[in-house]
């Protein structure tokens, strides 16, 4: 019986904090090797983590570690469910020490915790070297200081970390799919040349990495795509056999839906060329993938094909990108659209009058503005039956003062704008921009360490 079960407890930092609890309860009732993964590292998240680590060398791991893990750590340890997560962020070793501290507080004894490092290019390369690599996506780095630069590691180091016997594995930047493929390589003994197995495992990881997006979330469209008990949506569990057979399901007793439609939407999510999805472990081709309902809330996925992986790794480079300033105010009731448009024109005129040089976007939300471009509306807004509009202004600037000034021009509409302006909210926040580069994989050395209790 070599079926591996992998549950996903989070698809991004900020995902539902207690989603893993029903997964752990379900996994406790099945035999074989079981894993719980959490994916919490968006492109920009590492830059924020890197800043925290600079301020305090013990920090820089995901702040969500303290939110997610205390709820499941004791039960996972009791039932032999191993945890794999990228909550290591900029500091996997620090995260491992923090897990030991949490375990101590929960009275857990004998927990083995491993950390995977080596993704942090700033630790091994000079800024100069990083800037020399070709940018395949994102902004020009210019001479802006690099806040973070991390290569996407593959699944091999995750599998190696599990081979140490670790109950919890903390990584920084890896491909999201590696969180699932690593456990599968470890248990099933899949090697670098087993390309079709690696492809099935990567498809599995891709389907799980966004949490409930494969099991009914980010899916409902009432009357068209309805999902039962949606407020209690169950997060996904994958069952994967040594021959790559894959079934996506969810814990019993939860809401949500695992169907052909939910799985196909997620299969193509953030995929460009479906025949060439590049990862450090395998180039995935989903052109011949078949998706079949094999039971209630059970969907089989087969036919993923693999090709040899590229000789380069993708890395994300984050630079400081100044400030985003935003301000919003609402207008409702009779003639609301006219009052909102007057307010928008006042903000535009005021930004010119006080000498804001940066492009300012001023829009009337509620008229379909979310689809507009910065410069152009798709069509003239028409008054809606709801008669409620929200004026929003936004600017990006290297200068925090400018971001605040534009936001404050919306605030001033409280007393100096059209009649009935209400509910101002302001937001001025530091920004990070990213560029993707390719780096020769020989220049990136992943390392696995078992971290002792301190």
């Amino acid at each position: 019986m070599s079926k591996v079960h992998i549950g996903c407890g989070a698809g991004f930092a900020g995902d539902r904090f207690d989603a893993a609890v029903p997964i752990v309860a379900a996994l406790a009732n099945v035999k074989g090797e079981r894993f719980l993964i959490y994916e919490v590292l968006a492109e920009r998240t590492l830059a924020i983590a890197q800043r925290l680590k600079r301020e305090n060398p013990d920090q820089g791991y995901s702040p969500f570690l303290d939110i997610y893990l205390p709820l499941v750590l004791a039960d996972c340890h009791r039932h032999g469910i191993r945890i794999v997560t990228n909550m290591g962020a900029a500091n996997p070793l620090g995260a491992a020490r923090r897990v030991h501290a949490l375990a101590r507080g929960l009275g857990i004894r004998g927990l083995k915790v491993a950390a995977v490092t080596g993704d942090d290019l700033l630790a091994t390369l000079s800024e100069h070297d990083i800037r020399r690599e070709p940018i395949i996506e994102g902004i020009a780095l210019d001479d802006r200081p690099i806040v973070a630069a991390n290569a996407y590691l593959g699944a091999r180091p995750v599998a190696d970390a599990l081979a140490t016997g670790a109950h919890v594995v903390l990584v920084g930047r890896t491909t999201d799919a590696a969180l699932s493929l690593g456990p599968l390589m470890h248990v099933h003994g899949w090697q670098a040349g087993d390309l079709d197995f690696l492809a099935q495992g990567t498809a599995c990881g891709h389907l799980l990495e966004c949490g409930a997006q494969v099991s009914g979330a980010y899916f409902p469209d009432p009357g068209f795509k309805d999902v039962p008990d949606f407020d209690r949506v169950g997060f996904p569990i994958a069952e994967v056999e040594a021959d790559g057979s894959l079934v996506i399901t969810k814990p019993p007793g939860t809401g949500g839906l695992v169907s052909r439609a939910t799985v196909i939407e997620q299969l193509l999510y953030e995929v460009h060329d479906p025949h060439n999805y590049l990862t450090p472990d395998v180039v995935l081709d989903i052109g011949d993938v078949e998706v079949m309902e094999v039971g209630a809330n059970r969907v089989g996925v087969s036919g993923a094909r693999g090709k040899a992986p590229p000789s380069t790794l993708k890395a994300t480079v984050c630079v400081d990108a100044g400030w985003l300033g935003e301000g919003e105010i609402s207008y409702a009731g009779p003639n609301a659209l006219a009052r909102a448009e007057l307010a928008a024109s006042v903000v535009r005129a005021r930004c010119r009058a006080i000498g804001i040089g940066e492009p300012v976007r001023v829009e009337v939300l509620g008229s379909g503005a979310i689809f507009d471009s910065n410069g152009r509306a798709r069509r003239p807004p028409s008054a809606s039956a709801a008669e409620e509009y929200r004026v929003r202004a936004a600017v990006r600037s290297a200068n925090r003062k400018v971001a605040q000034q534009v936001s404050d021009e919306v605030l001033s509409l409280y007393c100096s704008g059209p009649a009935g302006g209400a509910g101002v909210r302001q937001h001025v926040s530091p920004q990070v921009s990213t560029a993707s580069i390719l780096i020769d994989r020989k220049r990136v050395k992943a390392q696995v360490a078992l971290v002792e209790e301190t």
Binding site: E265, L268, P274, N374
Partner: protein, 127 residues
Amino acid sequence: MNMIEVPLHAVAHARAGDKGNRSNISVIPYLADAFALLVEQVTEERMLAVFAHKGATAVKRYVLPKLPAMNFVIDNALEGGVNSSLGLDGHGKALSFLVLGEIKVRVPVDCIPAGSPYREARANGER
């Protein structure tokens, strides 16, 4: 066959994702029987026209008959994406519904799932 014009929303669902300044939007028919008509009518050119106001420069369509589904990759659709867009939706996550609403298709009524509000609206209109 009696053909009717409906928004793509009546016959397909979609999900949008982003990488940098590129958007990918899957278009998945509710009923496999509708797929050939969608392949014929939901073209790269029409998709590019939906994103013209954003400055999109090119669209590549991938046809996946086994699912069945299409995947559209739209270059420069996101005004810089989360790196530089001033819009609320830098990721372009709402754009799947722009496509479902803007693109109209001509299909037999059988291509609309039973119970769909579009079918009911049509039935009521005929009465």
